[in-house]
Amino acid sequence: MTQPVSPAQRHQQDTPAATPAKTPARQPARLGLRPDVRNLSLLGVLAVLVAVGGFTRPDQFLDSGNLQLVLTQASVIGVVTVGMTFVITSGGIDLSVGAIVALASVWATTLATQEYGFAGILFTAVVVGLACGLVNGLLIAYGGMVPFIATLAMLASARGLALQITDGKTQIVTVESVLDLGIPDAYVLGIPPLVLVFAVVTVVGWLLLNRTTFGRRTVAVGGNAEAARLAGIDVRRQRLYLYLLSGLCCGIAAFLLVVLSGSGQNTNGNLYELDAIAAAIIGGTLLSGGRGTIVGSVLGVLVFTTITNIFALNNLQSDVQQIAKGAIIVAAVLVQRRTARDGAT
């Protein structure tokens, strides 16, 4: 997946600089290390949240245990969001991520799969994720279906299949090596393995989007698919790869969720699609495609997780949490707009 550029491709390779230039009426994608102003403003939001958390609950919020907790809670949805960022950057959408996580997690935790131990669970989760992504990709890229519809169909079917496999039951994992990954003994230098996976996925995702032809093609397809096609990009194949990538991320996330919860359940991944899309958009990825930022998406996820954490530590109830969450989303986006506009002029 990280090496999608085939030398055998008949199309003339685009030169790296040529592609963004072919996306008219849009800012060229940021390729350098220069931090995006949007990311900066999101960092500001995060800093404010940390200040609020530290002020209201100094004893519980500002300790290493809580940092581990927030990052761990962020890792499952974070991995999904990285995949989602690619899809949205290309001008698509993947509504099926939550359902794929559910399906992959229950398929990976059936009694039959658990017979094969750690490797069996990991393999099944990843391959089920990839397979769902493949179906999405084929339907969208070669079947000519609108991403919204194709992935909505996948959402329904994958949830149905997950329910059929579990029969509505909670599948408890008994494979010790999988369970052990989620407890403090497995932490590497105080970092939970789940967080490490999240970090690796983030770094690989960032490199892929910002430092490879694959990433530039993704941006080009999202900016203007027709221009990208004329520039010699195989748009359909690129789309197929992108949904495969999203599926892969869901598979990895499903495995992380199995480790975290020690079980598989057909209700897993509930509304992940909305959380992932919201995090990506707040991060500064354009819903219409053509611009994406992995750093922004990850910051978006961290903002959401930190909000949840602060609310829980302050023992606020879910009604208050939901109202405040909505308000904070609006506030964050408004602040971001303002900063971006001021920064751009």
Binding site: G65, L111, G120, G168, K169, T170, R237, G262, N268, N270
Partner: protein, 346 residues
Amino acid sequence: MPETSRRGLLFGTAAVSAGALLTACTSNEPKTKEPAANNEPAAPDDKPGKKVTIGFAGPQADHGWLNAINENAKSRAGKYSEVTLEITEGSNDTAAQIGQVQTLINKKVDVLVILPADGKALTQVGLQAMKAGIPVINLDRVFASPQAYRCWIGGDNYGMGLNAGNFIGERLKDKKNAKVVELAGLDNLELTKQRSQGFADALKNYPNIKRVARQAADFTVESGQAKMAQLLQAQKQFDALWNHDDDQGVGALRAIQQAGRDDFLMVGGAGAKAAMDAIKADNSVLKATVLYPPTMAASAIDLARALGQGKGVGGMSELEIPASITLYSAVVTKDNVDEYLPTGFS
């Protein structure tokens, strides 16, 4: 991509074999198949009588408890040679469920057992059945009008909270300034409010106990883990925890294990088999669970059969079945877990 590349071939083969391997992995048959959760003796009056056709309509069995409801109904009906059970595909959609009940009415079943996805929304169709002369047993989620059913049987959410609170109260009554934490279920359901109210009312009997925190999960393992992890971070020390639901309790127990905490007593809710196994093994903080018994579906079949045959309930002197039955939310502990284990659901 006109030419079939070698890479494509290799990849295709790998994909096909992975698929073949995977399809073998959907099986969930345990090595030793256990019987459905319904081992208690049939009602005293189990001599075959008049033939009765019972129509059963429930919501989609998308979690363990509802699944157990279906299994209990089926296995109970199977015990009576004269009972035929017409069971519909479960649905959470109000319109779909109304259609299913109407189909059962048209089929002219003798008695209907309805567990509505939404009690209030299905009231009309309950009335319709009653008017058509088909008596309705309303299971658990109550219709808005008593005219829509002949008999209601269901669990006691308030009682669950009450019994959990009293159990914890008795355990902690000699402890000064005891702290209790509540992990509730889905907050936008009325039943969650009732459970929390019962719990709060019970704790009022014990002035030394204070509920220091409450968070609501949404009945899923995932949410149970997430919310419990936050609660453990927020409360560095407490004495007891009541978790409304054993399904989310799987996640809560996982979070407790991950945090390495064992300094408190945990009480569950609903009565899942996994929870009862843990209570029996006595190797975790989980020491008890308050029931919300899915066996009520088996009892509903008994009531429907009695209704169809014009009989009362065995063991009661009345000539007909009662109009309303609220089940008791028993507290299952290590001492009595063996009795209840057969009713545990997974």
